[in-house]
């Protein structure tokens, strides 16, 4: 599914294609390799090497594109994401043009469950001269940890081209599961001589379980050769519950091999940013911490941080693997006191009836039942 800047770029590209002459199918590709310093919400800052690529086959009426991105963090953990998109659009009629898009994507990070999404989108473009607008709606499903949810999106936008570059404005309402939010974003793309600059600024509001706030990103590409550029970028981006990514900040530097100004190059812009490694809170609120402190007579008090959770449970060999509900001990904090003997134990936690998982920071191992269990050492 295309969202944010890639979606906007695709919308503009399609609208421009609508006023262009049909051309033969062409293949374009881009590869970016570089280093990023990332700070995901709920994580410590980390460096990461990144590799991303995109390939696109297109003519004036349709296109298909595949993208992949991989990040290897300092810890050695790997985050991988990939998407496959295709679109086709109708003939223009008095400046109007219809477009149909489908997108399939998946991502995985370390030992967390895989994430996937599938969406279909219809969009109506109107273009006149060097400006245009669109409205669109999308339906889809996403999958995470054995649960799938519907995605509903509808939005509108407008763009205008000038000799200096392109300005676009967009607003998008997204609803998935019990999460809903509206993003409004303005973006400018400038292309001067051998330098491209992309700047975006947005805000999230009308949000339920997806946070609120302002976000922005900037990226500059210096093309040192026809097919070789140096990309510097940074900023803060919001969570993307539809695609299963959390919010984060980053700065990155990369080398780009590919065709300047191609749709592939425009669309990959956000993909080269650090992939967000864990699902957002919409389907399974993140269990970001588990503290254990000794209580009386061999009992231990467990305190769990789970932002946005409404129900938290824990089980382990010390509960005979029977789920035990935790009590609320503050905002996003849950607590329970249980008898736990000295030694090594295995355990799991789950939030809002989701998949049994292991809190961040705890070692985990294969549980023989298709999941993982955490390792707890009580001394």
């Amino acid at each position: 599914m295309l969202t944010g800047r890639p979606m906007r770029a695709a919308a503009i590209a399609v609208a421009v294609a609508g006023i262009a002459r049909p051309v033969a199918a062409q293949l374009s590709g881009v590869v970016d390799g570089g280093y990023a310093h990332v700070t995901y919400d709920g994580f410590l800052p980390s460096g990461a090497t990144s590799l991303s690529s995109a390939v696109r086959l297109e003519d004036s009426r349709r296109s298909i594109a595949a993208r992949g991105a991989a990040l290897r963090f300092e810890s050695g953990n790997l985050s991988i994401a990939g998407t496959l998109t295709g679109n086709t659009f109708t003939s223009a009629y008095r400046g109007f043009r219809g477009e149909f898009l489908a997108a399939l994507g998946a991502s995985t990070y370390r030992n967390l469950p895989h994430y996937g999404h599938l969406t279909g989108r219809s969009r109506l473009h109107y273009s006149r001269g060097a400006s245009g607008s669109w409205v669109d709606g999308a339906l889809g499903r996403n999958y995470y940890a054995g649960r799938d949810r519907s995605i509903y999106q509808f939005g509108t936008g407008a763009w205008a081209r000038h000799d200096l570059g392109t300005l676009s404005l967009s607003a998008m309402r997204t609803v998935t599961g019990d999460t809903g939010y509206t993003d409004v974003e303005a973006a400018v793309r400038l292309m001067r001589r051998n330098v491209d600059v992309d700047v975006s600024l947005g805000a999230r509001g009308f949000s339920s379980n997806a946070g609120r706030g302002v976000f922005g990103e900037a990226s500059g590409t210096l093309w040192v050769y026809r097919d070789l550029g140096i990309v510097l970028s940074g900023g803060r981006y919001p969570s993307d519950p539809a695609r299963g990514s959390i919010a984060g900040r980053y700065v990155s530097a990369a080398l780009r091999f590919g065709s300047r100004g191609s749709a592939t190059e425009r669309g990959i812009q956000r993909e080269i940013g650090p992939r967000r490694p864990v699902p957002t809170s919409f389907s399974a609120p993140l269990v970001s911490g588990l503290e254990m402190r000794r209580a009386l007579n061999g009992w231990q008090t467990f305190r769990i941080q789970a932002a946005g959770a409404s129900h938290v449970e824990m089980m382990g060999d010390f509960t005979e693997w029977q789920p035990v509900a935790l009590g609320r001990a503050g905002e996003d904090t849950w607590e329970v006191t249980l008898p736990v003997s000295v030694g090594m134990h295995r355990f799991n936690v789950r939030v809002d009836g989701g998949a049994w998982t292991v809190p961040l920071g705890y070692a985990s191992q294969n549980d023989d039942f298709g999941g993982i269990s955490g390792i707890l050492i009580v001394q």
Partner: protein
């Protein structure tokens, strides 16, 4: 002969009593066919001297996680083998908790000979915490041979259980700060054993702020 026969009968009666004590929880949470298979496995384990508590726990875990009977029995068979191997490596006098921790360590890929070396280095003290720490390190990405060597070095330095726990906590923090797992464990063990060697009072807990490992 008669005495041996009596002992077997007595043993069987004791086993029966223990199984009966476990029946309610297992019977309540497993279907009849799975319960029968699990009971046979538990009996076999008892005959072989393998502690059954972790087998029962694994069966309950599978039931709570919705695994089918076939999968639960397969998991118990695997665990039973690992428990037997752990008991063999750690010695027949090892406690149930040690054997359970040893099986976990074998499950993540540590060689049985590393368990035997650990027992030799710490013959009279419990290995539950050191083995738990070894499993934890491997699960955090420390290679199995490195994790084994690290725990062995700490054991040979006469570290106490609380030192092991403090060590694991420090490695966990270093990894969270971005250090590669193997380097974090290696640097920490060098620091800990050196500090221990320099300490005139013997082993101590080292939770201060030693130099952090450099990033790669």
């Amino acid at each position: 002969m008669k005495i041996r026969h009596s002992a077997l009968v007595l043993g069987a009666l004791m086993l029966g009593t223990r199984l009966a004590a476990q029946e309610p929880v297992l019977q309540a949470r497993l279907d009849a066919a799975t319960y029968r298979s699990v009971s046979v496995l538990l009996d076999s384990a008892r005959v072989a001297g393998i502690p059954t508590q972790s087998l029962v726990s694994k069966a309950l875990e599978g039931a709570s996680k919705g695994a089918n009977g076939e999968r639960i029995v397969a998991a118990l068979r695997r665990l039973s083998g690992e428990l037997a191997a752990a008991r063999g490596a750690l010695g027949v006098e090892s406690s149930a908790a040690e054997i359970d921790a040893g099986a976990t360590v074998l499950h993540v890929g540590v060689e049985p000979r590393q368990l035997a070396r650990l027992r030799a280095a710490r013959p009279r003290q419990s290995l539950t915490i050191p083995l738990g720490m070894m499993a934890d390190l491997v699960a955090r990405g420390v290679p199995t041979d490195s994790a084994g060597a690290v725990v062995l070095a700490l054991a040979r330095a006469n570290m106490r259980d609380e030192d092991f726990v403090a060590f694991r906590r420090n490695v966990e923090r270093d990894i969270a700060l971005g250090a590669p797992p193997a380097a974090a464990a290696s640097v920490r063990v060098n620091f800990t054993t050196r500090a221990n060697a320099l300490s005139a009072d013997g082993p101590q807990s080292h939770q201060g702020s030693p130099p952090r490992p450099r990033k790669p």
